[in-house]
Symmetry: C2
Subunit: 178 residues, 2 copies
């Protein structure tokens, strides 16, 4: 069995909580690791009534570019993953989804971070108005599934949760059509 | 156009390089962001001669569990992504791949980190001996593609790069069989 022996917080920021943790490993050895603790997040692939997918392009300082993504964000205290997905959908796109279905989960960077992202599909969308934070720059990019898959193939959609939501949506659709 | 105005390193560890960066956004506003700078990495889905996939289970302190993954690691200075994939495959599984084919790229956590992971397929494997680091705990888990996909569906394979490599391998196979 493994166990955390100690944790020293080395940076507690607005978003990132970075610590150096000493762990006892399953092989009995002890070792230190740099680990980011994260509350978890949710991401949602919104499906428009004409079956196009409502992707967004969002400025991401980490890569200095506008990045194709699906709406997503971190869980707020007391919020369920599904509530988080619905809230982020409204804030980032201005659409509300009457139906939100689970599409699996992912660990984004399990080597150094415990972030678990819950994926959802959003159906029955209605326009309610976008609510961006002052430092958010987001464009709406509706596209067909084939257009999105083409952008995955060409490495134009690189964001992992977005690629995975698209491919899981494909599997989901195939299973429902069997 | 966006621009980094300044960066203050707040933690420089063995693995993580965390900074607070001031950026000029595409909308002209200025804002600060907590960002991890990463050299990038490579991950490889190894395909055995009987077509089973050579997944691994690796202890990950961030989630305190043995985690299903594909062999992966960070780029060393001067190393290509393909060389990194081949090296990590040998170190973590003890198998060498005579053929290493690209399978796309992903950003793991574009909200706070610039890590780009290059995915590969490894074919024509031969046993050469495992070389684990002292704090690595890794089991080999060969399984069929259907077994792996079943574990994705049941959220038993949560690691994002691993899920994505499996789904891209499926698409890759379908395209090659058309």
């Amino acid at each position: 069995m493994s166990k955390i022996i100690s944790r020293e917080t080395v940076f507690a920021g607005r978003v990132l909580d970075v610590g150096v943790e000493k762990h006892r490993l399953p092989n009995g050895k002890r070792s230190s690791f740099e680990i980011i603790r994260h509350p978890g997040g949710a991401a949602i692939l919104p499906v428009l009534s004409d079956r196009r997918l409502l992707l967004i392009r969002q400025f991401r300082p980490a890569v200095g570019k506008m990045v194709y993504e699906i709406p997503a964000g971190r869980l707020e205290p007391g919020e369920s993953a599904q509530e988080c997905a619905g809230r982020e959908l409204v804030e980032e796109t201005g659409y509300s989804a009457a139906q939100i279905l689970p599409l699996g989960c992912l660990w984004s960077s399990v080597g150094f971070c415990d972030e678990l992202i819950h994926l959802f599909l959003g159906h029955d969308l209605s326009a309610v108005g976008q609510h961006l934070d002052p430092d958010e720059v987001i464009d709406l990019c509706p596209m067909t599934f084939d257009e999105a898959l083409d952008k995955v193939r060409k490495d134009e959609i690189l964001d992992c949760k977005t690629q995975l939501a698209l491919l899981r949506y494909q599997i989901h659709g195939e299973e429902n059509n069997q």
